[in-house]
Every structure is written in structure tokens, then in C-alpha cells.
Subunit: 220 residues, 2 copies
DNA sequence: ATGTTCTATGAAAACTTGTTCACTGTCAAG
DNA sequence: CTTGACAGTGAACAAGTTTTCATAGAACAT
């Protein structure tokens, strides 16, 4: 994707921050004041650039009306929901979830099948060209991961990505989403259930990784 | 709280839905068209009513600029974020967070003080007359609750309410937010740290409960 | 009966806001 | 050394929007 210039990124950041803080978009003049432009047209140009680069969508003529494009939306997700302050990426920041645009329900749900370890709840898949990393939550069903302190009823937050050895992943096996630890031995890949009662390693040939479990939400 | 009329509730619902779907607020004319009013003033009156009743905040003169007042905001929060499918209220539904209205940063932050057990991150306390239940997240700092499996770096999700004996609460002690278990013995109330190294019970006279810890988010 | 609230119309005023036009300048790539 | 993207000024226009004014019926409680 086309890169944003510093100014463009700053303006986009300010806009998103403004929404997070005030719940409505800034006007062009708001942005102008923030960045001390002498002309509204300076902002106007940047907005056009942001739209051209596909990270912002404007509604022509409408005041304070924008949409953040899917790509940016993902950034929003990872930055505002998964990411906390500082380098720690494993906490959920409830306090500043600003806005996520439209999130359609009605996605495939594997919940009711038998033997499902984790059921996909509501992956955030806004219509988009590029399939970009998108976080979603999985409700854990079953006890295959109890040795990893992940119990039935917990919710894990999954981020797509390339898992390393040792990561806990949500993977599609036989059309069902399961939660297991990824084990690599040489060139072979296994999925391991973290329950001493289960067979130790499950060899996998066709492995569809849906994402890496980053954090778990547990009732107190 | 003052009850909303059917029309008022419908308009508020439409507005929130509009934000969820489009990411920006509808104009008065948008609402007028939606409800087939012949005059914008019909909408205007309803908006005034909604503001008077404290569920909507308008920014005078600004276009498409509103905030959802805490009361309505809480409904959003509890229904979309805290509540998962079904009766279980202890999971976070990432998938359908529509919009939370304004969440100001810059609220009192007790993080850097010494001895703080939990630091308030971003409580949702928009200026409001009524203090209504509002969920927020606390970043746990310290080890006073490790015996309850709540460790430094975890994030707890707090919901205001009247705690029962045994609940883990976020309480203000000496101006600092701490996370401890509430213990009632007869007419007396104590706060108990869940760490065998700490003194067992802390007697409390002036107790300001900020909320009850409902779930905890832990890194994997 | 009477006041209050909710509901709504219709038009106009006042303000906010996005957009356009004309013009200047920098900087890197071809 | 021209071309194109980027960055900006300054002014003015056009459209979008909120807000106010005047008016009025229906429902409801006092």
C-alpha cells in the first residue's frame, strides 16, 4: 500500500483520536486549527491524499462525515483494542475503543458441532480487498487446553499471523476450529493439546491457521 | 431516569445505528428523512428532549456532532462489550463493538504513585449529572491479588455495582484505586489482599467502591 | 378548565462546513 | 530540466446544517 507521509499520518491519527475522544469527527477547520494551517485548503489536500491512498473515505459534501477504510480499521483494532499502553500487547484497553465502523454479523459459526474446542464468535471481517490481520474472539469450549490455564468458557483473543513454535493457535481441522499449541519438530508440524489426558501430539498435514491466541479473558 | 417516549427512543436508536453502520452521525435532515418528518424542527425538538433527558449530548452549532450520554453508553457497553452470547456475562465480545461515544482521556490516573495495586486506566466518566453504571478496565499493578490468580500486568474489567461479600472490588483507599476482595464480618467491612505475604484484613471505615471485578484479561 | 408535554408543520435566519480557484514553493525521479 | 507528488496561502463560494420563530392539535394530569 502506498505509504502515508508524516503529515498525512498525523492528520489521520488526529482524526481518529478526535473520534475516540469526542465521538464525532472533526471538521476541516478543526484540523486546520490543530495543525495551525493558515488555510483550510491545506487540510483539504491532505484529506484528498488520504482518500486517494485508500485509508480514509469521505462523504462528499457532508460535514464531519468520514469512514476509516478497512486497512486503517484493522490498525484501529490492533492499536486500540488489543494493544494497551506501552510495549505490552496483551491487554485489552476498554477505555478508548473509539469506533470500528460497521461490523457485520452473520459469519460462519461452528459452535454447535460436536467436539468443537473453540467456536468462532464474530470475526471482524469488513468487506475488503486485502485480507488484513483482524482480531477476533473465540469462546473456548472443551478442556483440551486446561494445562495452559485456558478453560471451558474462557474467551481467547486471536490475532491472525504466522505462528512460531510454541504459540497457541486457532486452527481449522476437519472444518472445525480448534485451539491447540503449535509444535514444530524439524520439518514436521504438530498440534498439541495441553491436557495430559489427551494424546500428546496430533500430526497435521493440511493446516489452516486462523490466528494466534494472544490473550485470554476469564471470569473472576 | 426520565423515560424516553417511543419516538425519542426510536430516534436515538436510529442515530446510534447510523453511527455503527456509517461511522458518523446523521444530520438532522437525515433523521428527518428517515422518519418522514415534514420539518426539520420535528427532529430538533426530539433531540432537545433527548438532551434534556440526559441520554444525548449535542455540540451546539456543530454538524453531525453528538455524544451519547453515560446512561445510554452503559447500555452499549454492557450489551456489546461485556456481555457475550447467552447468559454468561463474563466474556468480551470483540466482534460487535459498535461505538462507545466519547471516552475522554485525561482522567485522574493514580498509576505512578507507589504502592498502587491497580491503576485506573480510562474510566468512562463523561460529564454527567447522574452516575450510572459504567464498565471500565483496570490495569493491575502489583501482587496483592496473586492468590486469586490476578497478576501484575493483567487487566480486570470492572462494573460498578453493590458488591457482595467475597467480591473482588476496585476501591478507593487514600485516594488510590486498589484491587482487593471485600470481606464482611457482621457489621464490619474489610478489604483483603489475596497474597499470603500481606496482612490478612485491612479494616475500612470510609470505603468508596468503584466497582466489582467481573473478568480478567491475561496474556497467554 | 388548564397547564404541560409530546408531537408536528412551514419558513426563514444564521451559522458551519466542504469545496473551488488562483497562486507559490520544495523536493525527488525520470 | 521538466514532471509529478507534496505542502501550503488566501479568499471566496456554495452547500450543508443547525437553530429560531410562529403556530397548532392531541393526550394527559391537576
Amino acid at each position: 500500500m502506498e505509504e502515508l507521509t508524516k503529515k498525512q499520518a498525523a492528520i489521520l491519527e488526529y482524526m481518529k483520536g478526535h473520534v475516540a475522544e469526542h465521538s464525532y469527527w472533526p471538521s476541516i477547520r478543526d484540523i486546520q486549527a490543530k495543525f495551525r494551517f493558515a488555510s483550510t485548503n491545506a487540510v483539504f489536500g491532505h484529506l484528498q491524499a488520504l482518500e486517494r491512498k485508500g485509508v480514509l473515505q469521505r462523504i462528499p459534501g457532508a460535514a464531519r462525515a468520514y469512514k476509516v477504510a478497512p486497512v486503517a480499521l484493522v490498525e484501529d483494532l490492533s492499536e486500540t483494542i488489543i494493544r494497551y499502553e506501552g510495549p505490552d500487547e496483551n491487554a485489552i484497553q476498554l477505555g478508548s475503543i473509539p469506533f470500528m465502523g460497521s461490523i457485520a454479523a452473520g459469519l460462519p459459526d461452528y459452535t454447535e458441532s460436536s467436539g468443537v474446542v473453540a467456536s468462532m464468535q464474530a470475526p471482524i471481517t469488513e468487506g475488503s480487498r486485502r485480507r488484513a490481520p483482524q482480531s477476533f474472539a473465540l469462546r473456548v469450549r472443551g478442556d483440551s487446553m486446561i494445562d495452559a490455564d485456558i478453560h471451558d468458557g474462557d474467551t481467547v483473543i486471536i490475532e491472525p499471523g504466522h505462528p512460531k513454535h510454541g504459540d497457541i493457535v486457532a486452527a481449522l481441522i476437519d472444518g472445525q476450529t480448534t485451539l491447540k499449541r503449535l509444535v514444530k519438530q524439524g520439518s514436521k508440524t504438530f498440534l498439541k493439546a495441553e491436557n495430559t489426558n489427551y494424546p500428546d501430539l496430533v500430526p497435521v498435514t493440511e493446516l489452516v491457521i486462523q490466528g494466534i491466541a494472544k490473550s485470554v479473558v476469564k471470569p473472576i
